[in-house]
Symmetry: C2
Amino acid sequence: MAQDEPDDDIAGVRRRATIEDVAAAAGVSVATVSRAMRGLPNVAFSTRERVAEVATRLAYRADPAATRLATGRSRSVALAVPLLNSWYFSQVVSGAEAVCSAEGYDMIVMGVTGDEDRRALVDETSSIHRRVDGIIFVDIPVSSDEAELLDHHDLAVVTVGNSTDRFPSLVIDDVHVGELAVGHLISLGHTRIAVIGGQRIDPLGFHVSDSRRAGYHAALDRADIVADPALAALGNYSVCGGRDAMQTLLALDEPPTAVFAMSDEMAFGALLAAREAGIEVPDELSVVGVDDHDVSVVVDLTTVRQPVADHGARAARLLISQLEGERVGPSRDERPVELVVRRSTAPCRPARVR
Amino acid sequence: MAQDEPDDDIAGVRRRATIEDVAAAAGVSVATVSRAMRGLPNVAFSTRERVAEVATRLAYRADPAATRLATGRSRSVALAVPLLNSWYFSQVVSGAEAVCSAEGYDMIVMGVTGDEDRRALVDETSSIHRRVDGIIFVDIPVSSDEAELLDHHDLAVVTVGNSTDRFPSLVIDDVHVGELAVGHLISLGHTRIAVIGGQRIDPLGFHVSDSRRAGYHAALDRADIVADPALAALGNYSVCGGRDAMQTLLALDEPPTAVFAMSDEMAFGALLAAREAGIEVPDELSVVGVDDHDVSVVVDLTTVRQPVADHGARAARLLISQLEGERVGPSRDERPVELVVRRSTAPCRPARVR
DNA sequence: CGGTGGCCTGTAAGCGCTTTCATGGTCGTG
DNA sequence: CACGACCATGAAAGCGCTTACAGGCCACCG
């Protein structure tokens, strides 16, 4: 029996080649194979070639589990998002995945729905420990205690959407987003301007919704318009959420003539609610959203565009460059946004009798 | 120096507790800790309790890399999708992720764009080997050679969208989808019915687009309508793709009065192209899509609904039950679809002079 | 001609688990 | 009371890599 042949069959099933098989077949030690395969210095050219050739022949590939155990690095990263079935997050996932796979990293996505999910993730006895080398938090606030724990777990971190004083972050100026959207409505002559946004998810971080709301107020203030609290509606970031919120607003004694929805999906909901109520957009109601969703052009929605997939890609690159040894301190990369005017907004007209 | 205290500091950094630390602190062997932690039989109740208590105190958690190496199982699965920034796939991801995380599996998503990506994935020297326990292929055809290799890699597999004779699969009756959509248009009196769909991505599997196209033809045949090849447009599954295809169709000498788009996103593109060309929907053109996208209700699109997130969830459950030891043979679980009539379709009217 | 320094390579000790096998103790039973 | 049977436990051998350390070899220099 040629029992020492590396590609020996056991009960007809060919065992996967290990580094030892390659070493034996190439007539070198496993250490040399390891070095040769990873392109480390101090391997003679001829040896390197022979190892490469044998490795190809045996279809050898280092077992990732063994590599992880030995090095402590997993070559995988986590992407934590509050929810997955929304346009925004799917774009981020898409952008990040492209970069990760190009760099040879596995990307594992985790939906972090509530506070308790997040705590479980970052906890002392955390499930994240040693599972990934780094993690991207998208629109998930990270307290400084949690940041400390993450450091302690020796995790590289990048945040998208909020920033901390500890990790690099990728953000947009959400106050500016609000100002841009509402400023546009004001410039069209609107004064009864509603806002549809999310609640403060978390008391820890300064949340997106709050910032955009601040921009809303800033724009109103600048135009000497008094904000009517009744015009601030809450809803979750979805078509449904926007629709419900819009219905509430339309039921007011004095409904708004314009509405700023904090995401395009919410804006779609607002459009839907308007149509259901027989209200013409933009004649009777102007609507502006945020994101520039693929479908926004279809429904002719005015919006504040942000390059979402690019956020994901940049975040992934930032994270990976940290993992590749670059010492990256806390930073705040503010990405540009842009008002895209379409036909869901129009000059304010005197209310018609309905 | 209390050097043997399990939670000893080294240069101020507390080392993560290992199984040995727990064993020492609980006064048992590592084998017992391992057994106790995993709920295996043959551990005295008192021992089990003590180990649990110590483990909690030391915030112990088994290092996944070590577990993987020792067991050969990674407790993670892959989700392979052709692209990520589309509604359909983000829904699948969402559904699958929820199940995986509930079951304690990591889900790594991989975009498998073209043929070469797929080949690289499944290849003999495959990168997938030992990285995940199982894989879900969503709308990615798998040849029988590839299936063999996957088996050889000892991977559990579930396919969504196409079926093989080897793995369990989750599908819809795509022929029926086409018949339903086109049948609806025919029942409204349309005879010049166009179809917008994808090309055959791959000669290997019977692809979604082809089946839906077959349904289109079947419906036409049944109504004794001769299919006009000029009315079959190709485009990728996106708003842009649908728009481009629709523009081509509208430029025909004798444009269609109705169009069946193979996804809602394509249908959105068709709506956009129609509006840009000044064509009224549904008065001059009826449009029907497939999926029931979140936004479809907003643009009042008639569509063939399929429960997409549920596909993802079911696929994940199917995969995990295989991994948990259930011996699952090839199967074909056909999920229901449903025609949802909205206002993008209307009875065919004689063409107006433009 | 001995010493010195550079390369290249090999040996072996981990990494932190799981699991087989052996062992000792405790009961129940004839 | 002796003998298995059975249960709880421990010792130790992996799992397949990486890497610190130690040689061996050769060239080059004084």
